[in-house]
C-alpha cells in the first residue's frame, strides 16, 4: 500500500505492477529491437572487426570514417541526396502548394482529386520503382521520337540518370503534401482572403500574403521534413538502376543497403565497420536536420 501511495496519485485504481505490466510488452521490444540496435551502429563503427564478429575490446577509432570520407561513392550518394532535396523543395513543394491552394479555395471535387493525388503514397514503393523503370526505358523515347526529338538513355546516361531515378520520389511526394497542406490551409479564415480581395489582390498575391504567412510554420516544417526524407531516399535508385551505372546513382541509403545484401547472399567479405560508419553518418545528418527543425520551432514559439 505504501508502494502504491509512493507511485500514484491517491485514490487511483492503478497499481504500480499493473502499470508496469501494461508498459513492458511494448518497452521490451522497443528497447531491444529499436533503440539498442541504433546505439550499436555507433559502437560497431568504431571497433575492430574479426570477420563478422565485432571485437568490442579493440577500439579502432575513426578509421572507418576516414575510409568513408575518402570513398567517392559516399560523396556521390550525398550528391544524389542533395539532388533529391532540390527536387523536393523546388518541385514537390511548389506543386503541392499550388494544388492544395486551388483545392482548398476553388475546387468542387476536392475529395476526388485529393484521393487521386494520394494514390502513389499507398502503392508499395517497389511497384512504383518498377513502374518508372519500365516507363523510362520503354515509354518516353517513342514519344520523343514521334515529335522529332532524339531518344535519351534515361537510365544509363550520366547526368540524366541521377535525375530520372530521383524524379519518381519527388512525384510520389506531391499527394502526401497536398493532404498535409490542405489540412493547414483549411484553418485559414475566409475573411482574410476576402479582405485581401477587396484590396484588389490577385490569386498569386493571395497565396503570398494570406496563405503562406498563415501556414508559415507548417510550410517550413514541411520543407525540412522533405530534406530529411531526401536523405533517406533509396528505393528508386536501388530498383531502377541498382545504383549504377558505375555507382553513379547511389544514395547514402542505397549504398548502405547494397553492403547489407551482399552480406546476406554471397560469401564476399563485408565491411561491417564501414557500413556502420555510413549508417552513423546518414543518421547524424538526419538528426541534424531534425534538430534544426526543433530549434526553429522553439525560436518561433510554434507548437
Amino acid at each position: 500500500m505504501n508502494l502504491k501511495r509512493f507511485w500514484l496519485r491517491r485514490g487511483h485504481y492503478g497499481s504500480p505492477i499493473g502499470i508496469a505490466l501494461f508498459l513492458l510488452p511494448a518497452l521490451i521490444p522497443y528497447t531491444f529491437l529499436m533503440l539498442y540496435p541504433t546505439l550499436q551502429t555507433f559502437g560497431y563503427s568504431v571497433v575492430k572487426w574479426q570477420g563478422i564478429i565485432p571485437d568490442w575490446s579493440a577500439f579502432d577509432g575513426f578509421t572507418q570514417f576516414g575510409y568513408l570520407f575518402r570513398d567517392p561513392i559516399f560523396w556521390i550518394g550525398l550528391a544524389n541526396c542533395a539532388r533529391a532535396s532540390l527536387l523536393g523543395i523546388l518541385f514537390t513543394m511548389p506543386v503541392a502548394m499550388a494544388l492544395a491552394y486551388v483545392l482548398t479555395r476553388h475546387a468542387r471535387a476536392a475529395g476526388l482529386f485529393r484521393t487521386i493525388y494520394y494514390l502513389p503514397s499507398v502503392v508499395p514503393g517497389v511497384m512504383l520503382a518498377f513502374m518508372w523503370r519500365f516507363i523510362f526505358s520503354k515509354a518516353i523515347n517513342p514519344i520523343l521520337e514521334a515529335v522529332g526529338l532524339s531518344a535519351v538513355r534515361w537510365l544509363s546516361r550520366d547526368g540524366v540518370v541521377q535525375w530520372s531515378t530521383n524524379f519518381p520520389w519527388a512525384w510520389r511526394g506531391v499527394g502526401f503534401w497536398v493532404v498535409i497542406l490542405m489540412a493547414g490551409m483549411a484553418s485559414v479564415p475566409r475573411e482574410l482572403y476576402e479582405a485581401a480581395q477587396l484590396d484588389g489582390a490577385g490569386e498569386l498575391q493571395l497565396v503570398r500574403h494570406v496563405t503562406l504567412p498563415s501556414i508559415w510554420g507548417l510550410f517550413i516544417t514541411a520543407n525540412i521534413t522533405v530534406l530529411s526524407g531526401a536523405l533517406g531516399t533509396f528505393i528508386f535508385q536501388r530498383l531502377m538502376t541498382e545504383g549504377g551505372p558505375n555507382d553513379r546513382t547511389h544514395t547514402l541509403v542505397s549504398y548502405l543497403v547494397s553492403f547489407l545484401t551482399r552480406g546476406s547472399t554471397a560469401a564476399g567479405r563485408i565491411d561491417w565497420g564501414f557500413a556502420s560508419a555510413l549508417a552513423a553518418v546518414q543518421f547524424s545528418l538526419s538528426a541534424t536536420v531534425a534538430g534544426v527543425l526543433l530549434w526553429l520551432r522553439g525560436r518561433t514559439g510554434e507548437d
Binding site: F6, L23, I116, M131, L218, F234, I235
Partner: protein
C-alpha cells in the same frame, strides 16, 4: 485552375494506366503499339505472372505479416498508451520521453545491428519476427497517436467502471478500447499499408524463397520477367491493386491520420 488540377491528376494516373494497358498485351504487340488499347486482350499474362512469379506464396506471407504485425502493433501501442495517458505515476515523464526518442530513429540506422541480432538469436527467416519488428518500429507514432486520443476520454467513465469493481485490464478492454475505436481504425489502415509495402527490412530478415510480396516482386521483376513486358506489368498490377482498393475503401481514415500528423507539425 481546373486545367492544372486535371493535369496533375493525369501525371499521377497515366503511369498506372500505361502499366495496366501493357499488362494485357503480348510482348510483340507492345513493341508495335506501346500506347494504344490492346488489339487482343491477353489475360494469359496474369496467369504467367501469377505462376512464374510465385505470387501465391509471397501473397500468403504478406497477408500473414499484415495481420499479425497489425495485431501486435495495436496491442503494444494501445496498452502502453493507456498506461502513460490515464495514470499519473513517478516515471511517467521519463517513459514518455523514452518513447518519443523513437521519433528521431530512422529505419536505416538500425538495419545492420538488427539483422545481426535477429540472426544471432535464431529468429532469422521468421514471419513472426518480421511482424514484431514492424510493430515495434511503428510504436512511437502509434503510442503518440493513441495517447493523444485517450487523453480526451472523460475520467468519469473509468471511475464508474472502477466503482463496479473493474480492474485495470477490464477498464482498458471494456471502457477505453471501445471508445478509442476511431484511433484503432486509423492506425490500422496505416499499419496495413506499411506492412504490405515494406521492402528493405523484409529483404534483410527473410530468405528470398519465404519473403513477402514486395521482395518477391523485386526479385522476379528484375530477373526472369524483365523482358516479358506483359507479365511484368501484370505482376505490378496484381500487387498494387489490393493496396489501392484498401485505400479507396478506407481513405477517410487515411486522410484523417495524415491530417493529425499535420497538426502535430
Amino acid at each position: 485552375m481546373y486545367l492544372f488540377l486535371v493535369a496533375w491528376a493525369v501525371i499521377t494516373l497515366y503511369p498506372f494506366l500505361f502499366v495496366l494497358l501493357t499488362s494485357f498485351k503480348a510482348p510483340v504487340e507492345f513493341l508495335d503499339n506501346p500506347f494504344g488499347l490492346p488489339k487482343i486482350w491477353r489475360f494469359k499474362n496474369y496467369v504467367i505472372a501469377y505462376v512464374q512469379g510465385s505470387v501465391a506464396t509471397y501473397t500468403l506471407n504478406s497477408v500473414f505479416v499484415v495481420i499479425v504485425s497489425t495485431a501486435m502493433a495495436m496491442f503494444l501501442s494501445a496498452t502502453s498508451a493507456f498506461a502513460v495517458s490515464r495514470f499519473r505515476f513517478r516515471l511517467r515523464g521519463v517513459i514518455w520521453a523514452y518513447i518519443l526518442i523513437g521519433f528521431l530513429v530512422n529505419n536505416y540506422v538500425l538495419l545492420m545491428p538488427l539483422m545481426i541480432l535477429i540472426r544471432r538469436i535464431g529468429i532469422y527467416d521468421s514471419l513472426w519476427a518480421l511482424s514484431l519488428v514492424y510493430a515495434t518500429l511503428a510504436l512511437p507514432f502509434n503510442v503518440f497517436f493513441f495517447a493523444a486520443y485517450m487523453e480526451t476520454i472523460p475520467r468519469e467513465l473509468e471511475e464508474a467502471a472502477v466503482m463496479d469493481g473493474a480492474n485495470m485490464w477490464k477498464v482498458f478492454w471494456s471502457v477505453i478500447m471501445p471508445i478509442s475505436k476511431p484511433a484503432v481504425v486509423t492506425l490500422t489502415t496505416f499499419h496495413v499499408l506499411y506492412a504490405w509495402g515494406e521492402y528493405v527490412i523484409a529483404l534483410l530478415l527473410l530468405e528470398f524463397a519465404h519473403s513477402t510480396l514486395p521482395v518477391g516482386v523485386a526479385t522476379v521483376a528484375a530477373g526472369k520477367m524483365a523482358q516479358n513486358y506483359g507479365a511484368y506489368s501484370a505482376l505490378l498490377v496484381m500487387t498494387s491493386i489490393p493496396a489501392i482498393l484498401f485505400f479507396v475503401a478506407l481513405q477517410r481514415y487515411v486522410v484523417k491520420g495524415v491530417t493529425a500528423g499535420a497538426l502535430k507539425m
